[in-house]
Every structure is written in C-alpha cells, then in structure tokens.
Amino acid sequence: MSLISLSALRRTAGAFAGRGGIHPETRKYLSADSPIEAMPLPSILRVPLQQHIGAEAVPVVARGDQVLKGQLIGKARGPVSANVHAPTSGKVIAVGYFAAPHPSGLPVSTITIRPDGADRWGARLPRLVPEQATPDEIADHVKQAGIVGMGGATFPSAVKLDLRKRFALKTLIINGAECEPYLTCDDRLMREFSEELADGIAIMARALGVEQVIVAIESNKPQAIEAMQRRMLAIGCPARVTRVPTLYPMGSEKHLVQAVTGLETPARALTAELGVVVHNAATAYAVHLALRYGEPLISRVLTVSGFGVTRPANVKVLIGTLVAEILDHCGGLDGTPDRLLLGGPMMGLPIRSQRVPVIKGTNGILALQKSETRRHREMPCIRCGGCIKVCPCGLMPMEMHGMIQAGDLDKAVDIGLLDCVACGSCSFNCPSNIQLVQSFNYAKGRLAFQQSQKHQQEETKRLAETRKARMDAIAEAKRQAMARRKAEMAARKKREAETETPAVPAPAPTAERTG
C-alpha cells in the first residue's frame, strides 16, 4: 500500500482515535430557530478590565469622564493582554471593584458606564484595507480592537495570529463545532452572517499566511454547513467545510484538530507546532467588523436558553450588559432555576448573582431546571470504568479522583491530571454522580497555588538578599562616615596642634579612609 493511502486511512480513523466523547442531549432546538436579535441599550454597563487570559488591562479613563462608543477605556498591559473599549457612549460613573462573572463572585477591576442613550461613535480604528495590508498590520489591528478567542477560552487573538512568526503554519481551522449543548449562537452567526464570516476568515487566513482553511461544523447544524459552503470561494485560498460528527467535546481545540486533520497534538504543545491554528467562528466575525468597519470588540452574540428561561433566544448584546437585564429581555426566569450558568452546560461557570456583566468570552446564559441538571446524590465509586471510557484524553478520572481525595496530588499529576481539559465527560457519565471535574479543578488550583508559593519562595530569597545587600551598604556607609568623622577630628586636632607647632607635615587622610 502506498504511503498516501496509508495516511488517508489514518486520517479517517475514528473521531478521537476511537475513544472518548459523549452524546449529551443537545436541546439546541430551544433557540436554534430564533434569529439573532439586538438588545435595546441597557441601563448600565459594567465592563471588567480582565476579560481575557493574561494581564489585566489598565484603565485609561477616570470617574466622571464622558466616553464615546468604541473609545479605549482599558489599555492592554504586557504581551498577553487585551484592550477594552467603551461599548456605548455615556459617562463613567465608577472605576473600581465589582463582582466578576465568575463562580467565586470575587471582585474584579471594572469600569461602570451609564449610557447616555445617544450611542454615539467616537473615533473608529484607523482604516486598513486588509487585501493590501501586511500580516503584521492585520495582527496589530486585531490587537488594537481587543479581540480575544470568543469560544470561551478568551485568549488574545492577536497573539495567536502572531504564531506565524514562530511556526510554519499551513492550516487554519475555524471552530464552528459548537459542541456544547444548548448553545446556538455560532450556529446562528454562520447561518445569518456567512458572508461576513467568510470575509473575516479570509482576513485571518491572510494574516496567518496559511495554505488552506477548513471550517469544521458538527453534523447537527446542516443549515450552517450549507450556508458556509456557499461562501467558501470568497476566502481566496483553498477552503472547505468539514462536517465533523456530533460528539462532545468536539470543540476542544486539540480534539478538533485530530478529528479534522488526523494529527494528534503532543501534550503540552501548541497545535501551531503541527502547522495548524484554530480560531472560533465568532472570532472571525469580530475580525471582520474590526478590519472592515474599524469596530473594536464591544458586543457579541450569545444564546439565552434552558427550561428556566421564558423565551430562549440568540441575542446580540453589548459587553458589560448585566445578566439580569438580558434575562429580562428574554421574558425573565420561569421560577428559580437549579443552576444559572454563563456558558454551556458542560463547561460553563455557575454564577451567584444575576447582577454580573457578560464579557467577551460569554457565549451563553443558561437557566437550567432540576429536570435538566439531573443532579442526584453522590454515591461511592463502583469502579464501573464509565469515566475512563468517555475520557477524550485517555485519562483515568476515577483513579485521579481517588488520589486527590486521599491528598496525593503529585501522584494524580503522575497519571495525567495536568492533561485533563476539564471537558466534564467523566462527571456527565458517572453513575455515582461524583464531582470529578470539581475535584480536578480543585487539584489544579491547589497545584497552581503551590507553584505560586514556590515562586514566592524564590522572590522572598531575592528580596532578602537585596535587603541584606542594602543593610550592608548602609552599615558600610555608616562605618565610612564614622571613619571620616574620626579622620576629620584627627585632622582638626592636628591643625589645632599645628597652630601650636606648625613644623609637623600633614598626614595623608586617604590612607585611613580605605580601612
């Protein structure tokens, strides 16, 4: 058999190399047929300065300032960070800490804007014709626009576009899998804005300098597949739509790369090392808006769904809109939900209060009722192996959980804790309802904490050394001062003596100083 056909065989072999993955009830029907609707201007906007992975942005406006739509209000700090812009025109009424859209409810640096209702645009981003711009210019433009990965990971997109400097990139994969149940915002985007998306994809392909583009869409979105297929010619380089099986977690970057190209990304490596870059479909739309219209990332489409929501919908909202206002727009909640989530039901984050803002990475607001969460009391592990069967990463979740419960985090790391992507397949499938994912999240957090302690340890050492050096310097300076004073005293004495007997020559004072 020739090499070519062999490699073709390998590439068509099972989605995740024949293992892992689950089929949760998708319940996408709740919102799949609702067109994207724009939400009216909210009464207040709370824009956190940390909406991305990396360093927090630095506020560049102060309380009382008037801001215009699209105006920079938070400036990226450091290489991995993202700009934050005012979603509408209005007055900055606070720069300070407010509850983050996060399970902890801990405060995060936030700029609060009261919209003036005029929705007046300020200066847009400088004009750039993508067809004539260099990749660097495009990447810089994307950086100015504050665009981050909009599938939820919120990694600054410009950094990903710059990967071409370090690796020979060949393929751009657009992640339209949307494997999380309930969520339909990417589906609707692809159906309604396929032309704009294709344009964004073409710009990104140009910026990355790739040879081909693959748009990967799960098989349960036939209309999106059809819509995107129609626009493939517009992209300008060889591009195709690939229908990937409906299997959670298909949207996980490395698993999608494997499903589409057959390549398995090594642990702790980037897909770029294989020449593949994955961007989210919604990110492509944001890139289109930024490059064609000079609009920074100030709004996004998200899905409001779940049995607990009166009117499930896909809504285009401004970044910083409070969850409560969006829910009100969708008819409010139908009773108290069992879980209120930002994101999908598998990896989304539960929130304590509705008075938190949506951010760039928020792709859904779900109010799930008991019948959907199906949470039962936890039972002991019966070692059924169900978690191992569904783990797309080939881990042994129950063993890791046992080790973590017994306090042996190092051992859990030995058997792959850090390779876990927290997709939740194991917990989903566990007949005993064991909170495996939370256990892993706890362990990872704990390890990060220990790591930071180690870091602090080194820092402490450094500080102690500098302090010692400073103390020594001070002591040395004191000693020298003393010596100098002594010398002066001696000199004065001598002068006094000289005035009496001027025949004696003056001694060299420097000799004493060096001692």
Binding site: S104, L106, I404, Q438, G445, R446, Q457, E459, L463
Partner: protein, 182 residues
C-alpha cells in the same frame, strides 16, 4: 570443641574479609548536608522556626532535631526539598494540615503612626512607606513572619489570612461546602 571454635572463627574471618572488601568497593561519599539545606531555606532569618536564623535551622534539620516542615514561609515546597535531601518522610501533597492558608501582615491605618519601625524590621521589604507616613503591606512579598507585629509600638499590625483574589481562587475540594461561599 577446638574444631567448633575454629570453624566459627574461619567463617567469621571469611565473611569479615568479604564485607571489608565490599565496604571499600561500594563506599558512598556522604557530603555535609547542612550547607545544602541552608541553601534551600529562604535566608530571611525570620525566626518562625524557633531557631536562631536559617543556619541554625539547617543544622537542626541535618541532625534530625527538627522536622522538614519547620519553615512556614518556605511552605510545602521547601519541606519536600528538605525531605529529599535528608531522606525523611516527605509531607503529603494535598492534605489540609501541612500547607495551611498562608498569612500576611495587615496594618490598621488608623493606628499607624508612621514610625517606620516595622519598615526597618521587615526581612523582605514588604512594607512600604516612609517616616510619618502610613505604611502598607505588599501582600505578594509578605511572608507572614510576625517580625513587624512584634515591633509595632501602637499594635497596629495583625496577621491575617492572605485575601483571595480572582487570580488565586480555585474550586474547593468537593465535599467541603464551607469554601463554596468563601
């Protein structure tokens, strides 16, 4: 009788020779570990371990007079390294006992007179401020060593657990509901 004595002597002599050769052949150098241990300690001489400075602590650990977990600022990391050096039982990795929540100093600004005593005493320069100004603690640099608390003339400094932030927050261990509400 003589045969018995001779036999046992011969056996003992033979085995002794073999062991003597083996002892030389398999000789293992054991370096002085005090220096090695001291290199691992923070070097702040904060005295939380109860020994006079880090050198004293290192000597105690080397003699086995102190546990490897003696250094609170060093935390678990140092304990594990020390356990490796001394061959002692390493501390567990996730238990709640060994790595308790770290503490940092906190200054009640109302009581602070700006006397700079704490500022001078701090081994890691974690207190910033100048004479006649209110001092503040840099949480990331503070090792919770208690030195400043002891010298403050107005008792304006206390130790408290390091405040949680979004950066160091993590999910609580399942089954410990207390953490969920923080």
């Amino acid at each position: 009788m003589i045969e018995a004595v001779a036999t046992m002597s011969a056996l003992g002599l033979g085995l002794g020779t073999i062991l003597g050769v083996a002892a030389r052949r398999f000789h293992v150098e054991t370096p002085p570990i005090v220096d090695e241990i001291e290199a691992q300690l923070p070097g702040t001489n904060c005295g939380q371990c109860g020994f006079p400075g880090c050198r004293g602590a290192a000597e105690a650990v080397a003699e086995g007079a102190a546990p490897v977990t003696l250094c609170p600022p060093g935390g678990r990391e140092v304990a594990v390294t020390l356990a490796e050096i001394t061959g002692a039982e390493p501390p567990g990795s996730g238990g709640t006992g060994q790595d308790a929540e770290p503490v940092v100093a906190f200054i009640f600004e109302d009581h602070c007179t700006g006397c700079t005593k704490c500022f001078k005493r701090c081994p890691t320069d974690a207190i910033i401020g100048a004479a006649k100004q209110i001092h503040t603690v840099v949480n990331d640099a503070c090792i919770g060593c208690d030195a400043c608390v002891a010298v403050c003339p107005t008792e304006a400094i206390i130790l408290r657990t390091k405040p949680r932030t979004l950066r160091n927050w993590h999910w609580p261990k399942p089954g410990t509901p207390a953490d969920a509400t923080l």
